[in-house]
Assembly symmetry: C3
Homo-oligomer: 353 residues x 3
Amino acid sequence: MDKSLQELADLLHGSVTGDPGIRIRGMGTLETAGEGEITFLANPKYAGKVATTNASAVVLSAEANNHGRPGIIVANPYLAFAKLLTLFTTRPRTARGVMKGACVGEDVVMGTEISVYPGAVIGDGVRIGHRVTLHPNVTLYEGVVLGDDVILHAGVSVREGCRIGNRVIVHNGTVIGSDGFGYAPDEKSWYKIPQIGVVIIEDDVEIGANAAVDRAALEITRIGRGTKIDNLVQIAHNCVIGEDCVIVAQAGIAGSARLGNHVTLGGQVAIVGHITVGDNAMISGQSGVMGNVAPGEILSGTPAIPHQARLRSAAIFPHLPEMRKSLHRLGNRMTKVEEVLEQTKSRIPEGSA
Amino acid sequence: MDKSLQELADLLHGSVTGDPGIRIRGMGTLETAGEGEITFLANPKYAGKVATTNASAVVLSAEANNHGRPGIIVANPYLAFAKLLTLFTTRPRTARGVMKGACVGEDVVMGTEISVYPGAVIGDGVRIGHRVTLHPNVTLYEGVVLGDDVILHAGVSVREGCRIGNRVIVHNGTVIGSDGFGYAPDEKSWYKIPQIGVVIIEDDVEIGANAAVDRAALEITRIGRGTKIDNLVQIAHNCVIGEDCVIVAQAGIAGSARLGNHVTLGGQVAIVGHITVGDNAMISGQSGVMGNVAPGEILSGTPAIPHQARLRSAAIFPHLPEMRKSLHRLGNRMTKVEEVLEQTKSRIPEGSA
Amino acid sequence: MDKSLQELADLLHGSVTGDPGIRIRGMGTLETAGEGEITFLANPKYAGKVATTNASAVVLSAEANNHGRPGIIVANPYLAFAKLLTLFTTRPRTARGVMKGACVGEDVVMGTEISVYPGAVIGDGVRIGHRVTLHPNVTLYEGVVLGDDVILHAGVSVREGCRIGNRVIVHNGTVIGSDGFGYAPDEKSWYKIPQIGVVIIEDDVEIGANAAVDRAALEITRIGRGTKIDNLVQIAHNCVIGEDCVIVAQAGIAGSARLGNHVTLGGQVAIVGHITVGDNAMISGQSGVMGNVAPGEILSGTPAIPHQARLRSAAIFPHLPEMRKSLHRLGNRMTKVEEVLEQTKSRIPEGSA
């Protein structure tokens, strides 16, 4: 496949500088790209390399376009890079149908151009959209619904009745719809509360490997459109996650918590149950959030406090031993001063001043 | 299915108030339940809604029974709710036998009324009790023993020789009996210590999705009767977990640690190896426990300290910068005072007082 | 199987004390070993038991060899124990070939003496070395390469094009080569950056259960020779992990981080992206490392600081409330002293001293 610079500019909603007819058949970095390849400048730190790259064209921002090289001017060169990488590296998908070694239950409805690999098991009453790929050893329980263009990687389980939107990607080993962790105390023991809700995953969500999203106790655990979830993340029952959130690896969200839109949780963050995290909030890695978070807040630490305040306090933490010693010494000096002052006062002659 | 109020009261060990013959065929919340349905009042905050619910009967405590509505009086309404939910939502289990696409090894002993789904693989010499369900792509290695009424969800692995009691539920992707993490230093490298012990899981244990319970080095990693373990929990080799413990998601317990009975570990807690946590101890989320814990202790933080003390110190943590400044200023004031005092003393006439 | 004491000494690179012809057919602890068995003394605390053990021989260090019992003198008795345990407990491996219920794609090259269990799915173009074991429900995507003597346990996935060296063991449910977590901001949404790199796992690596190692965005995520990784560990895209590292359960390493050789990460440690951790560094459990770590450093806490300093500050943390009160009281005393001193000064007669 090759494309003219003009065709690429159209794809990227950018404008061409130089010859729009230059043919591009691949891409590389400023160092590695050669003749017939396009590269990009996202970080101004590397602007000097635009002059010396062997690439046939460069994607860059208007401000950085002062090198006289053929190229495409875009608002967001990093996004453009991602789009070009997708263009040049995505292989056309081949629908393989239901392959030998896959098992399909009763009353299953399947769209066109699907691939169901060996070892995939589709339960009764499942509905699958068009162009869906089920990799080996995927399990769909009874009544699962998958939209169009869904990719479930090997070993994924989707439990009974859960529903997954269009263009959702779930990586290997992830579990959607396992029972929520709910028990009623029964003297010293625990009585299991049936978890009869479901999980709904909206369009354009991507979930990493070996994550777990529990089904709701009674209603719906929901992952909002466009949200991206990394490996080994735990999402408990009844959580409602907004749109376009980013949840980094090993974070955990306890039951019935609600995240707004465009929330970022760093790696290993813990969100306690039944709280609300506002739109655009950011929680730094390993933090533990114990209460509601206002929109746009940036928190860190356990318990989480505003990020800048936490950095200031954390910087002082290593000085605690010297602070304690100072405090002790000051106490001694104070006692001494108080004694001396008392003696001094008493030595001033009667009637002075 | 429907039941009389009296039948439900018998099931719940409660007593009827109003007409014991009222027929109940389902349940709902105080807001959603209607004619023919029963609801419950567990949280006194919602007591006002008992008067206005459309439910035909209400489960509540003796203290809350002042509304004159038909109902069932029980000691623990929340537990009663869980039991009613189980009654009204559990579908009768259909034994499906060993389905096409499942693989059964040699010398396997299986009880009656089992379901073995496609993709499940049963190793040689495995013994399986009655009414067991093995979902798709479950793997039982050689010599595994399962009790009665066990449910292993899709993708669960049980490794060689491990034994699981009655009524145990294991959710998708969880691994029972992987090798413990043990190596002997061999100059700069690591020599693997064979992990030849097993895991024993006692009756009525439930384990969430994508958790890992390692086999012992030489003897037994044990999970005690009735203990509930959430998703993504790590239990290392040689651990002995008591009965009726609750271990929340992403907690990790290092090798040879021992938990008593009815211990609670919050999410993302870490327990170091070779320590003992006493009965009824509670460790709050994200805490790191570095030493033995006495029965009934409530700890938090890393390293974990008594929970109340930790809350008090955590509340002061954000004030560290101002404390350090205060300390510095106090030091300066002290130096000034000492100087002035010295001068003052020296200005007092000889022989005064 | 039995061996003479001399044969065992040769295996352990040790020297015999006593009759080299004694026959040994098994092993046990100092308490449990009996006639015909060998035991070992690794911890000097148990030296007293050497005199009373029923074992026919004892493995110990030269310094501890003062008991007159037949034995083998070695430099590292714990390593010797591991080697003897391997010798006496390892069953000979039986190659079972490609079993019924396994699926093999096109253009697959397989070595001799392999075992491929039911439910294992091998993609097109895969290459597998000699004496490899693929347990049930393992999935190898297209183009995967496995060395000799590799063991992949049930439920492991190895994604497209990833390469695994010789003698590598991967425990159940672990995922090698899932997509790295990379997105470009596209207004409020996220545009997926294709992850077209691979994972390379070098010889003698062992990885625990339900871990995740992401493929690189463009190039290689690498796990160095001899490194041991515990359960539920997250290794993000582009990481380069050195040789002989030890990474304990639930630790997470963010994208593009580099670990040197022989680095130890405790359980639940977090390493942020794009930093370097030097050779032989040790990070204690639950720590969060935010910047480069020099070779040999021992760090703990979040943000991580030198371990001893952290212990000292952590010991003072519970005293923060009393420190704050002391500080407040000192401030009050100081104000009082300053006032009194001012008054006192003013009471000294003019012209004094």
